[in-house]
């Protein structure tokens, strides 16, 4: 049995996961990051991306949108706006969101609007990617 550390994933609408975890892989702002038990203290921000964690030798996947992670010697905490299992993702809704965002990007927007739309597009694409990869 691999060494475990306690992991807590909290989304704005629920506690997504709370328990032991053997291995955690997250998408941080500058790339993938793997975390095992006994990782050094670390704080980093998470953009919309894929997340996987291993419980009892099995990988579990989730799609998360903006948040951050705090890794402490005894536990790790991920706080995110939303966190979904691949099977929970509403593909139709995500596709609609993607199209809406793409449509908006073609129009003239202020810089702020542009960033917001781009963020929305990223979230939608990420949802689609995760659900297509792990849930068929």
């Amino acid at each position: 049995m691999a060494k475990t550390f306690s992991l807590e994933i909290v989304a704005t609408d629920r506690i997504f996961y709370k328990g032991e975890c053997e291995h955690l892989v997250i998408t941080a702002i500058d790339g993938l990051l793997g975390i095992l038990a006994g990782h050094e203290p670390l704080v980093t921000a998470l953009p919309a991306g894929e997340l996987k964690y291993m419980v009892d030798g099995k990988w579990r996947y989730a799609a998360i949108s903006d948040g951050f992670i705090q890794v402490m010697p005894d536990k790790s905490v991920i706080l995110a706006d939303s966190c979904e299992l691949p099977e929970e993702i509403d593909i139709k809704r995500a596709e609609e969101a993607r199209e809406r965002a793409q449509e908006k990007l073609r129009q003239k927007q202020s810089i702020q609007e542009y960033y917001q739309t781009q963020a929305a597009l990223n979230r939608a694409m990420n949802r689609l990617k995760v659900s297509q990869k792990h849930f068929k």
């Binding site: 909290v10 203290p41 706080l79 917001q116």
Partner: protein, 302 residues
């Protein structure tokens, strides 16, 4: 003894009001159920966020990040303060609106120069209240383009609000930002509260219970503390605003429900009292009529 017709009309009108208050009671109780559910879902995030930020800041090395900028070059009384105030969109919810407005007034009164205060009001009632006040005398300025509703708070709305105040802070239009909202302590106890959003104050955090600074190992920040903070703080602001909005909405529904319940009960009491009065008046009228008839008959027999 009041007129019978008057009493009847009064009873009728009370019955009409009773119908309205009762309908509002039912509506707010079903809305409250929904709001409670979302509050329960959000609360763990809200508290965890505060707790985690606190512990993150304990491990943060000193940074020159702009959100930490305390604007020490500006004297305290000259600093522009922004207040995000969460009120209801409608009235008829007991003392809920009154409490938060009064609380806001108190907060505003604390600052040395009220013309340096900027209000961002979520909810129709507060907006109207402060707009009316402003017409009378020069007071804190209300952002007229800040139009957000309190109904069914969404993360997206919170994000927009957070973005707006962060932009204003960055550009120097605001030097301090506070959120004023009503917190649901228990289902019967509500409390108005202030949370300081910006600048990010480390002295709120980073102190142990006994007041001494904790010595903690520095955590590493990827890619750099500044970079992480510039992501983390907008996220934090969004989370705090969203949490406050959810709390306030739940409080609003709760107080509306209580107020409408009380109104319905007292309407029923009034109807009871008035019908008693009505019956008495009717009885008196009948008695009088009989006396008159008897009197008339007796005078004929003479």
């Amino acid at each position: 003894m009041p007129n019978m017709r008057e009493i009847r009309e009064r009873i009728e009108s009370i019955k009409q009001i009773l119908k309205i208050t009762n309908a509002m009671y039912l509506m707010s109780s079903s809305k409250l159920k929904k709001a409670r559910k979302s509050l329960e879902a959000t609360e763990p995030y809200f508290y965890k966020l505060q707790e985690t930020i606190e512990s993150v800041l304990e491990h943060t090395p000193h940074t020159r990040q702009m959100y930490f900028d305390r604007r020490s070059s500006i004297p305290p009384e000259k600093r522009k303060k922004g207040y995000i105030v969460i009120t209801a969109d409608k009235g008829l919810c007991g003392s809920y609106n009154h409490n938060i407005l009064k609380y806001t007034e108190q907060e505003l009164a604390k600052s040395a120069d009220i013309s340096n205060c900027y209000l961002f009001i979520i909810g129709q009632v507060g907006r109207q209240y402060f707009n009316n006040r402003n017409r009378n005398s020069s007071k804190a300025s209300v952002d007229g383009e800040f139009l957000y509703t309190t109904q069914n708070p969404t993360l997206y709305r919170a994000m927009e609000i957070a973005q707006l105040v962060l932009d204003k802070f960055e550009s120097g239009e605001l030097d301090e930002v506070y959120v004023l909202y009503t917190d649901m302590v228990t289902s019967n106890l509500q409390e108005t509260r202030t949370v300081q959003l910006l600048p990010f104050e480390r002295r709120h955090f980073g102190k142990a219970q006994d007041g001494t600074m904790k010595k903690l190992p520095k955590a590493s920040f990827l890619p750099s503390p500044e970079e992480v903070m510039s992501h983390l703080i907008p996220n934090y602001a969004k989370g705090i605003i969203y949490g406050a909005m959810v709390e306030a909405f739940c409080c609003e529904q709760q107080s509306r429900m209580t107020a409408m319940d009380a109104a319905t009960t007292s309407a029923k009491d009034m109807i009871k009292d008035l019908s008693l009065l009505y019956n008495r008046a009717r009885q008196a009228a009948i008695t009088q009529e009989i006396t008159e008839v008897c009197g008339g008959a007796a005078s004929l027999n003479k």
